[in-house]
Amino acid sequence: MNLSLVVWRQKGAQTPGRFERYEAKDVSPDLSFLELLDVVNEGLITQGIEPIAFDHDCREGICGSCAMMINGLAHGPQPAVATCQLYLRHFKDGETITIEPWRAKPFPILRDLVVDRSAFDRIIQAGGYVSVNTGEAPEANSIPVPKKDADMAMDAAACIGCGACVAACPNASAMLFVAAKVAHLGRLPQGRVEAKQRVDQMVDAMDREGFGNCTNHYECMDACPKAIHVKAIAFMNREYRFPRRKPGT
């Protein structure tokens, strides 16, 4: 199949960027989207053009590196996958695909499609952890965890910190990311102890980074490659108001 790519090219953080058009001729529909960029880059290198810079690592949807906006959708049109798991068969032959970096003030562009997401690291540093050593896994029945809590914690823990929620949010809000961490740790007994200070500190850190404010559009949930539900945001809203006392509620 043939595809036209319109790609954001930007040399560095301080230099202005612009879109460039590249043609991908006779590519297999079975290529992943990142493999398409690899093929295009090989062509660019033989022409003496600087290849397109993009983040990628595991290429199996668990590292959260491959961040890009494809035709206005974070990680492209397929639901619940990262860009690395998006295949060309989901596009039409001859289609023009616009590829942009995540756009949010707290995610400054470093080069082309690569943005600096260390704002997320600073939010995690503010409280997204359990500060005591919990030792080995305890005997399974010694600390009962209600199924409701275990389910929500596991769903939220699927967050790979890719930033698609911020990229897709019309307000560039990081609520789904922060809520996922708050729900993941706050619903389990080990994380419960520090729940109150965690949510306060992480919200403060989120605000300090300059993310926008949540207006409940729910674009984040559709964009999330792990399909994390906005129920996590409702949980964080409750936690912020008054932390719950009893498990399973």
Binding site: N216, K231, Y240
Partner: protein, 220 residues
Amino acid sequence: MRLTSSLGRKYVMALSGVLLLGFVVAHLAGNLLVFAGPEALNAYAKKLRLLGPGLWAARLGLLGLAAVHVVTSIQLAIENRRARPQPYAVVRHSASTLAGRTMVLSGLLVLAYLVYHLAHFTWQTAHPAVAHLTDSSGRHDVYRMVVLSFQQPAIVLAYVLGVGLVGLHLSHGIGSSCQTLGVTNERVVEAVRRAGRLIAWALFLGYAAIPAAVLLGVVA
């Protein structure tokens, strides 16, 4: 919890919004007395006026709520704009609605309409022809003011647009407040969103029924 944080101000928005919604519902309930005839509506209007300090407390309360709601929303909207200085070249929406994305605009238009609406029915300065009417028992004739007003198509158009914007605003606002106040979960989040839209439609139709009834001659 700090009320000045992003989450705290979302709470301020949701709570003030819910309380203002309470007024929109109560106001509609009062207005619908027009269908019960001149006696019921004029007596109700008189009763409200006789509340005296209570009426003023309610008015000041509503004014305060509206001020908080508007000022906070503008502050949040400016921050949201700053959070994405460079927009995307291609914008696609999958979950958000037009109502949700135009909350600031619909809210400000409602505010503008509200000023005119007060000038029309409360201060009675916008349309002198229908102002300061009295009925046979010497009360302010609200009924005749409403009927004479809504016999003019331009007033009806402005009114329907105004309550239409209120409906649009609420169609996102009701569901959104529930999520902000944390009363939703996975099972009900979509139902809450739909119920919010339904309530907004019901309120719009309730308000729009009044000029419609006057134009159709049901209320005369």
